[in-house]
Amino acid sequence: MPDLVIRNLHANITGTDTEILKGIDLQMSKGEIHAIMGPNGSGKSTLSHVLMGHPGYEVTEGEVLFEGANLLDLAADERSRAGLFLSFQYPFAVPGVTVANFIRMAVNAHRKGGPDGVDNPVRIPEFRKQIQEAMELLEIDKSMASRSLNDGFSGGEKKRFEILQMAMLQPKIAILDETDSGLDIDALRIVSDGINRLVGPNMGTLIITHYQRILDYVKPDQIHVLMDGRIVRSGGAELAHELETSGYADIAKEVVS
């Protein structure tokens, strides 16, 4: 069975009848790169947050299996510790908490309750080495580690720090929600290089994007087109270019007819 299996997923905004996801089916595994493309308002970000466990959405139908277990039964922190990661489109600032301290807490949360139920906090020198390597990979200045998380960061810096967290937490499946938005061309290259280095036999990624620009750097195995809460087409990398030339409108026509 694939590592992530989404079956007929329906979701509303919590407490309303507003249905955003109207039956999503998708399967992927570690080692694979999938992209979800779609126009604004198609439900792309909602899908990423429903998978991560955002309290603002409720699943009304369908199921999600992560390594065979029911993902929807878990709270967001449990999903994270199970190996799911979401790079936020709009990360939150946490004033007074440094990047390094925060990431160390997150890493330690993942190392809680090991095989024999014992916590295994990372040793500080080991942690320091790892985070420095990851920061170098993403061309982040060392001094940034002692700044408050996302506090006063530019849009591009926030995205780099999302990928830094991904690198440190080593998820099995990483969802990247509009990670390319707000990045200039150099930053896009750096972030994409980082993603390419991290994706491998132990990690897969689901890239959510409006534009195909990032897909020139991170080559997807499969592309899915999301419109009005449903995946209307899936295909190989060539689909991105088709979208680029003909736009979502043509697909919409195609789907309706």
Binding site: H54, A75, S80, F85, G96, V97
Partner: protein, 467 residues
């Protein structure tokens, strides 16, 4: 800071226990002239002090209750015990402290802290200081650190020169009350040029139900000297109220520096109504670090009068208002001399229907040209039931001054917590981390031991609030 949740009672006040009472003296409930005469007589005070007390009592009676700030209508002055002497001695060794009381202070961690990092300790239980210590080498340098009542008897001239010179009885109703019935507190004198590296600490413990604790603290930091004084306080949890009303006066002479740190953690049946004021002379620095976590109602606005040129005042205030609590806290700075500077930083957190108010007064007198001041107050609201208010009074009478004021209110957002949870932190860890980050500008100013304690207390409060 990594959360340590293993051995923590979730959200419960840890210091609500009480000891069996075994007082040497316990004057009957309520306040009248006779009670005041009894207190003074037990203490063997000079007549001028009795007269001072009686005069203050008249002022107390004549002043109305404050009609601003927190709701004080629940205070029943007739139901309070104004003086309770728990033991006969003021020990210099913990071995001489009666076991029950000693055990309580051990539970509170005082002797251990004393061994580890303090220059001296005073421990007050009910109305009297029952233990006092100061390192020998500090005593040899001429530093005085003793219980205020003892200072009156042993250093009367020095005492009389400064006592009530900064906060007169008539300052407000509660300074008058304290002046009438004061007992205990710390008296500190630091001679010129002497810098005390480790903090001096006093701990105030209320034990009896309906107790009134009225300590009086007087600190004189002579020219070029430095002291860091820390106070902590706790009380048992009872179903009826207690009253804590202290007066703290500080004089920092030319070029001296005083830092006064409070971690107030009264149980939620204590009215905490405290008057604190410092005068800073030329080139002197006064810093108040004021943490208010406990009590039912707190009204406390540490004040600095910048009396000498280039004096600097700093007030860092943090208030945590939980269920049934109202923290009305803040600070007051008066710029009297030219080129004086001040910073007020206030952080408040309200949760479970608690209410926190920032109340500040910044006054720049006509002659205080070239003064600078910055006031920053930030409030964090954890849930929709809770409330925060800001009352920043600013009164500028001088020209050419530089004044800044910023205020923010933020709500602890579900989405912010979700963001942190998406990295693997539990909901409680996430909210505690956000709060710890919020108060970090204050905790970073505390000695490590107290910063850890403050973070732990906040963590405890937050553990109780989510689930």
């Amino acid at each position: 800071m990594a959360p340590e949740t293993a051995d923590v009672d979730l959200g419960e006040y840890k210091w609500g226990f009480h000891d069996e009472e075994n007082p040497v003296i316990k004057i009957e409930r309520g306040l009248n002239e006779d009670v005041i005469r009894q207190i003074s007589a037990h203490k063997g005070e000079p007549k001028w002090m009795l007269d001072f007390r009686l005069d203050a009592y008249e002022i107390f009676l004549s002043k109305p209750m404050p009609n601003w700030g927190a709701d004080l209508s629940g205070i029943d002055f007739d139901n309070i015990f104004y003086y309770l002497k728990p033991a006969e001695i003021n020990a210099r060794s913990w071995d001489d402290v009666p076991d029950t009381i000693k055990n309580t202070f051990e539970r509170l961690g005082i002797p251990e802290a004393e061994r580890k990092f303090l220059a001296g300790v005073g421990a007050q239980y009910e109305s009297e200081v029952i233990y006092h210590s100061l390192k020998k080498e500090l005593e040899d340098q001429g530093i005085l650190f003793l219980d205020t009542g003892q200072a009156l008897l042993e250093h009367e001239d020095l005492f009389r020169e400064y006592f009530a010179s900064i906060i007169p009885s008539a300052d407000n109703k509660f300074s008058a009350l304290n002046s009438a019935v004061w007992s205990g507190g710390s008296f500190i004198y630091v001679p010129p040029g002497v810098k005390i590296e480790q903090p001096l600490q006093a701990y105030f413990r209320i034990n009896a139900e309906n107790m009134g604790q009225f300590e009086r603290t007087l600190i004189i930091v002579d020219e070029g000297a430095y002291v860091h004084y820390v106070e902590g306080c706790t009380a048992p949890t009872y179903s009826s109220d207690s009253l804590h009303s202290a007066v703290v006066e500080i004089l920092v002479k030319k070029g001296g520096r005083c830092r006064y740190t409070t971690i107030q953690n009264w149980s939620n049946n204590v009215y905490n109504l405290v008057t604190k004021r410092a005068v800073a002379e030329e080139d002197a620095t006064m810093e108040w670090v004021d943490g208010n976590l406990g009590s039912k109602v707190t009204m406390k606005y540490p004040a600095v009068v910048l009396k000498g040129e280039r004096a600097h005042g700093e007030i860092l205030s943090i208030a945590f208002a939980g269920e049934g609590q109202h923290q009305d806290a803040g600070g007051k700075v008066t710029h009297v001399a030219p080129n004086t500077t001040s910073v007020i930083t206030s952080k408040s957190i309200s949760k479970d229907g608690g209410r926190s108010s920032y109340r500040g007064l910044l006054r720049v007198n006509k002659d205080a040209e070239g003064s600078k001041s910055k006031v920053v107050c930030d409030a964090l609201i954890i849930d929709p039931e809770s409330r925060t208010d800001t009352y920043p009074y600013i009164n500028i009478m001088a020209d050419q001054v530089d004044i800044g004021h910023e205020a923010t209110v933020s709500k602890l957002g579900e989405e912010q917590i979700y963001y942190l949870m998406s990295r693997g932190l539990s909901e409680a860890e996430a909210s505690a981390l956000i709060v710890a980050g919020f108060v970090e500008p204050i905790t970073k100013e505390l000695p490590l031991e107290y910063a850890v304690e403050l973070n732990r207390l906040i963590q405890l409060q937050m553990e109780g609030s989510v689930g």
